[in-house]
């Protein structure tokens, strides 16, 4: 069962994603910040990372770079509630699988996750 980790500072998003992904059959771990994820033991086992772009402290793209620096190549799907136009090409160019704008459809999310798992 693939492990999907969710990093988002918004509790509602974390809870709802856990609910949805578990209903589909994924194993899910959620983290309220980038640091808690880095500090966790799941880095090597994560099959797909769903990562919020803007968070207090370390932001999503920084975490992506940090993981890369540490040698982890985790397929990552960015999610963001900010209508920031340039964020999507930037994260994609740095290797992200996809970047979804909240609110996103289930199909878009599952499509992105599938793509990520395929890449993994």
């Amino acid at each position: 069962m693939p492990l999907i980790c969710v990093v988002d500072d918004d509790g509602s998003i974390r809870e709802s994603l856990r609910g949805l992904l578990e209903s589909i059959g994924f194993a899910v771990e959620t983290f309220p910040s980038a640091q808690t994820f880095l500090d966790s033991t799941w880095l090597g086992n994560t099959d797909c990372l769903i990562l919020d772009v803007r968070m207090p402290g370390m932001r999503g793209p920084e975490l992506q770079r940090e993981l890369c620096r540490r040698g982890y190549d985790i397929p990552t799907v960015f999610i963001t509630a900010h209508g920031d136009e340039d964020i999507r090409p930037r994260v994609l160019s740095e290797g992200a699988v996809d970047c979804l704008l909240k609110p996103f459809s289930e199909a878009a999310l599952l499509g992105a996750i599938r793509k990520a798992l395929a890449a993994a």
Partner: protein, 795 residues
């Protein structure tokens, strides 16, 4: 003893007895003068014996001082043989001398030869004394007459001069010889007063006393002011009279001078035009100082030139010439007097040391002498000069000098008074103008008497005619009914406490117009003894109120615009705030569907997901609600609200924007804060502005945490204090207040209105907004909002 003596001596007793009882001293002598008989009374008086008295023995009884003349006289009548009498003193037996009349009558024979002398010596002591007394009194009266300080004339029934005294000759210029025997009319009656003179003379002749003040003429024609008393002397014969003249010319002159001076002072006091007063002054001096022509010149404001004042008696050409004449030491008497501040006396221009040019000028106008004195103000400024011109050489007497000084002082009073009045008038005009321009009237009010005095502008403000006497009732009629209790209460407190007061109220006019007035009153009577008086200003602030209302509306509009613009800048963040719950709702919805679709359906998980949907829907709704109020245009209603709640709401709305700026926000809210009466939207905007301001202040900070700390708590005066602390670039001390100015900004974007609007919002709520630098980096913006006192909602 001869035969005759023997004859008498041998008279029968009855005759002898008769002779002795005659109340006189009786004697007889022989033709040769030897006394041959004296009666008993003679002997009793002198104390001599008959033997001692006869012959020449009687001479021992005569006062030695009178004896030689008596003896001479006795011999003379003895020789002439005619009767005679002589007065001499006879010494009484006790040594006292008394006057007697010695009378001797000869008895002749047929041939005419004296055969006997009969004599009587009569005591005339009393008569003699009376005569002497009369002589003495007459001498005194003569002396009195001569030395009387007034002119005295004794006239006969035809009013011809019988006698005049020394003062008459001095006063009227006639010698006694010239006067005596002439009709008094010829001497003293002036032609213009003959009628009056004759009338007086008639009254005197008919025995009436006449008293009057009139004019009489000297020998040289000069008129004298006199006080005259004509008294009839009532004798058996025709009526004579005494006429006494007292010279009252000086007194009359002094009286006229005082009257003139009084008239001038009245003119000054009444504020008659200065030229008229000074002209009257000149005329009076000319009247007083014969031959003089007066001139008053003013000194220019710069003190450099003389200006024509008044000179009713001088040729216009001359006065025009002097107008603008320079003041200096060599420019003529007036210029010199103004220059030296001292009197300048030119007794004769021809012999004076004045410039030839000036001499020629005055000569051209026939002027020979000039006395000029400077007119000084009380503070020793030279106001002008006062001069007397003469057409012949003349030097002033002491009396002239006194007159000049007296009138110079009067001129000074008149000029200074006019100066003061002009200054007052100017100042009043300025005040009236200033009151008119500033729509500010003034008033004074004495509560004890109810006396109120208004300025012109106050009348205008109250819309009343200046003929109306202002009273509190008149004012009350105008006060807006809604403000009447406030009006009444304010005045009652003012009277009770006697302290300065200030308040605002409205007037309601019959046509429905409303005026807003601002009253500021100051207690003017500092002394407790004085009755209470207030002076103050009435300011028509209607226009200002209108402007303020317009400004308020404008501010609301502007606030709305800036609010919307701020929200526009925050659109992405706001979208984030809505997208977050929206995303969660979508995901939860999908999850719920999946749990329901699974076999068997996992109802528990589906229910959990649905609960989350409801919760997040609520969350999104809250955001929308808050945003909606911020987009609302009007926000003029105040309500009771808690500041912490407002802070929380705005922290929620701005969280995404704060986060976007890489900052975090923390709050420390005090419990149990009092509620405030406030406009929720305005206070939300205030918080929004301050939070956004803090975010922007930290945008350039990279070396430390970007942190906003918002605290709420009680202020020093019980109000609510809110502080928004950032860790941004901080404030320059100079900037500290400027940041609140409209359009002041240090940033590339923004209108610079945020803090200006914030301050006006706080002030609109009766609070205060200010900025303080932090101990460390950054600044803190603080504001207070007064606690709600639970009163009626504010309009």
């Amino acid at each position: 003893m001869n035969d005759d003596t023997a004859e008498i001596a041998t008279l029968p007793d009855p005759y002898r007895f008769a002779i002795d009882t005659i109340p006189g001293l009786v004697w007889t002598s022989l033709p040769d003068g030897n006394v041959d008989f004296v009666n008993q009374r003679w002997l009793d008086y002198t104390g001599l014996s008959f033997e001692q008295a006869i012959g020449c023995g009687w001479q021992a009884a005569v006062c030695p001082d009178d004896l030689p003349r008596l003896v001479d006289y006795w011999h003379s009548i003895l020789e002439s043989g005619t009767p005679g009498e002589f007065e001499a003193r006879l010494r009484r037996h006790d040594g006292v001398d008394r006057w007697f009349l010695f009378r001797g009558v000869p008895q002749c024979d047929d041939r005419g030869g004296v055969i006997k002398w009969y004599g009587q010596t009569t005591d005339i002591e009393d008569r003699k004394r009376a005569d002497e007394e009369l002589k003495r009194q007459t001498a005194h009266l003569d002396e009195l007459f001569e030395l009387a300080p007034h002119a005295v004339v004794l006239v006969d029934a035809e009013v011809r001069v019988i006698r005049v005294n020394r003062e008459f000759t001095r006063m009227f210029g006639y010698t006694a010889e010239e006067a005596v025997g002439r009709p008094l009319l010829d001497l003293v009656a002036p032609e213009e007063r003959l009628e009056e003179y004759r009338n007086n003379a008639r009254m005197l002749s008919s025995g009436q006393k006449v008293e009057s003040e009139t004019v009489r003429r000297r020998k040289d024609g000069v008129r004298l002011q006199v006080s005259m008393t004509a008294s009839p002397v009532l004798t058996a014969g025709p009526i004579e009279g005494y006429i006494i003249y007292r010279d009252i010319t000086e007194r009359k002159r002094a009286e006229a001078l005082i009257a003139g001076e009084t008239r001038l002072l009245e003119m000054i006091a009444k504020g008659e035009p200065l030229p008229q007063t000074l002209e009257a002054l000149c005329r009076l001096v000319e009247q007083e100082c014969s031959g003089a022509t007066c001139s008053i010149l003013f000194v220019d404001e710069d003190g450099k030139r003389l200006r024509h004042g008044v000179a009713p008696g001088l040729p216009t050409a001359y006065t025009s010439l002097l107008d603008g004449w320079p003041i200096g030491p060599e420019e003529g008497p007036c210029a010199l007097a103004a220059f030296s501040r001292e009197s300048v006396i030119v007794e004769d221009f021809r012999t004076s040391s004045l410039r030839k040019e000036f001499q020629a000028i005055v000569a051209g106008y026939g002027l020979r002498a000039c006395w000029s004195v400077p007119i000084l103000s009380r503070d020793r400024r030279v106001l002008g000069t006062f001069a007397l011109y003469f057409r012949e050489p003349r030097s002033p007497r002491q009396q002239d000098r006194e007159t000049i000084e007296q009138f110079r002082d009067l001129a000074s009073i008149a000029i200074e008074r006019t100066e003061a009045e002009n200054a007052l008038r100017r100042s009043q005009a300025h005040l009236a103008k200033a009151q008119r321009l500033s729509l500010t009237g003034s008033f004074s009010w004495r509560p004890a008497t109810g006396a109120i005095v208004w300025s012109e502008e106050t009348y205008r403000i109250y819309g009343l005619d200046p003929s109306v006497r202002p009273t509190l009732d008149v004012v009350r009629e105008r006060v807006h009914p809604a403000d009447l209790p406030l009006f009444q209460q304010t005045l009652e407190v003012a009277i009770r406490d006697g302290k300065d007061f200030a308040f605002e109220y409205r007037l309601l006019f019959p046509d429905g117009a409303v005026k807003h007035l601002q009253i500021t009153a100051h207690r003017s009577s500092a002394d407790a003894d004085e009755s209470l008086e207030f002076v103050g200003a009435v300011m028509d602030v209607t226009e200002r109120k209108r402007s303020e209302d317009a400004l308020d509306r404008m501010r609301l509009n502007l606030a709305h615009v800036t609010r919307v613009s701020t929200l526009g800048q925050m659109a992405a963040s706001i979208a984030h705030e809505i997208n977050q719950p929206l995303a969660a709702i979508t995901i939860n919805g999908n999850a719920s569907l999946r749990w329901l679709a699974s076999e068997p359906p996992n109802l528990h998980e589906a229910r959990e997901a649905t609960h989350r949907i409801v919760r997040d829907g609520q969350r999104a709704g809250d955001v929308i609600t808050r945003l909606r109020s911020l987009f609302r245009r009007d926000g003029s209603a105040k309500e009771r609200l808690g500041m912490s709640e407002v802070v929380r709401e705005m922290v929620a709305i701005t969280r995404a924007e704060v986060q976007k700026g890489g900052a975090s926000i923390h709050t420390r809210m005090a419990e149990d804060l009092p509620l405030v009466a406030g406009d929720r939207v305005q206070l939300q905007q205030l918080m929004l502005n301050l939070i956004m301001n803090a975010v922007e202040a930290m945008s350039g900070v990279h070396d430390r945490r970007r942190e906003i700390i918002i605290t709420t708590g009680p202020g020093e005066g019980g109000e609510v204090l809110v502080a928004v602390r950032d860790s941004g670039v901080g404030l320059d001390p100079e900037e500290q207040d400027k940041v609140f100015d409209a359009f002041y900004t240090t940033r590339q974007t923004g209108m610079g209105m945020g803090l200006a609007i914030s301050r006006s919002i706080v002030e609109h709520h009766g609070g205060r907004l200010w900025a303080e630098p932090n101990d460390g980096p950054g600044a803190t913006f603080l504001f207070t909002i007064p606690r709600d006192t639970g009163g009626a909602p504010c309009p």
